[in-house]
Symmetry: D3
Subunit: 136 residues, 6 copies
């Protein structure tokens, strides 16, 4: 049986939903107020979960201090207090929906982990809207 | 890999736990104070999760505004500020346990969704007691 | 300087808002869905706060176990899993708005406390609607 | 003795902290990452509290549906999914710190209420940073 | 399709992370401040989830009052207001990491349940660090 | 009118309630399981609130980054991952009840602030038990 270890963190960012090769009209119709040209913003809450085998000697799957540092370097330093559309490489041409942000974060953290664990990323855009992306 | 999108909502309702073809004595013994003849009530918190393939063009799995409207029409308009046992068709002959309410909500929302997604319904009767029902 | 000690608890109850000497029409107009004849319900969250002088010897203002027992006897045993309008003496002729419930709870707990403390009752009807009543 | 009634709501907005008649250098030094030229954003949680005399007949201080509508018209419709610095009149020349946003919201709601009540505005910029402004 | 029923509870305990057959130096290096010789402590939040077939007659998977009593007897009575390293049999020779505490709680509760259900134990050491262990 | 700015933080510590010049019997009778000789522990949540005049130029009452640093230096560095009774000067001879911890924290932070503000310390020992101490 495997065990999961989770770490919660957060970052604050501005964004707008916008597909570059659509007309302004279509963007407005599909994304509504989320397409506001001058951006709006969120406090994103992030839960990163690693699932794998327990190390019998330490009693750890992964030291949460290590997980905390990976999240800080890959997510907080990159996205906190930023405009996702303007200030980041990752969303220059990718629409920063909650789904896409979760996939991007999954890829950034996954490359830092051992490949024998499952990684799950849960991202709250608001308390009421959230997404989850998971894989090994 | 699939992705999940969740939407949280809530409704307030009265109910009592009661099996129609049991004696009052047996109902009282099995359900205790939850069997109170004059009903009691809850603020039900509901998390509806849809799991499936990301639309690469929009970056959406499902627009949460659409999910919000389905939940409003199928759940809130039907159950909010109601007595589940007396005011609803669904629980005229079905005992409104948290488990049964989750199954009923799953069926109501499932018929509104594309059939290539998994639907998960998580229902909090209180902060401490909650149930989850999931299927495709 | 005084100090405050708070204890959080909760109870689940059914109620309807209804003024006995009004017409059904006026009740419906003023209270809307909260006037539903068959009742609806809530998980009421309750925070009881006592403010007064610290006992230098024990380092306590009031033992929270004592406060917990007073709340259990005066509030939970009386209102939990009840229909406030039908099953309780207190709301036979008093409209069970959040405001009135807070005032009733204040009076029930106040008579159990030393008279040299301030008592504050904060009652959450939902996470979004709550009231507070305070006095010595 | 007076009673308080509170209503919680929220809005999502982009902003940057910036004093117009300061140099860029001084803005950056005082406000740090909050001065990011391309903005960042928050999910602002707002608790509006009205304190005054209970109406003995209805058992209401103020109908929370009325309070909800005032908050929607004065705050949500004005600030939700907006860039506070660019899209609003209120913060064209006022630095949108949490303190200033709370004062602006207080003035907007205060002019809609009877003058014999106290109005308190509590604004959460994040779960960890919040402000409160109160007066009659 | 199966359904899940969850019950949340909590206990407060002191602990230190320490592997008995390591040097003090290595313990300090691996576990940092969590290795503090005089212990530190946590409010552990625990969510116990049972997954299985719904009983069509009662509308229950498992009565949450039964689940509550099992948790009280196996977890709260054993660990609440205790020093896990000094006061319990379970952690005399097992390092009380969140992972190991979850596995121990899983075993204690699992032996009290019918063997045709899946048991999941989710343990929050803090709001930001939590683990999950699941199996049939 | 004055404004308040609050900052939330937390620390994890072990403690036991014990009055040095009482018999073991009396300590056990008054403090119950909180008197456990081998200690138990808590995740203490702390909300520090400063109330005073807004600086019209910056739009700040106090920069929350400054407040965060004061809390880190005076509270977190001193008490986090410690045994309050054994590892700290402050509780060598003071019983670490929630009330006394709040008063000690108030004094530590108060000496770091300008004297023209009111300081309020709210300390959660658990989600259900908390205290507040306030003064200028």
């Amino acid at each position: 049986m495997e065990i999961s270890v989770s770490r919660k963190s957060h970052f604050n960012a501005a964004h707008r939903l916008h597909v570059a090769n659509w007309t302004d009209e279509r963007n407005k119709q599909v994304f509504g107020t989320c397409n506001n040209p001058n951006y709006h913003g969120h406090n994103y809450d992030l839960i990163v979960t690693v699932t794998g085998q327990l190390d019998e000697e330490t009693g750890y799957l992964i030291d949460t201090k290590i997980l905390r540092d990976i999240i800080k370097e890959e997510v907080e330093d990159r996205f906190d207090h930023k405009n996702l559309n303007l200030d980041t490489e990752e969303f220059k041409s990718v629409n920063p929906t909650a789904e896409n942000i979760a996939v991007v974060i999954w890829r950034l953290i996954h490359k830092r982990l051992n490949k024998n664990v499952t990684l799950t990323v849960k991202l709250y855009e608001t308390e009421r809207n959230f997404v989850e992306y998971s894989g090994r």
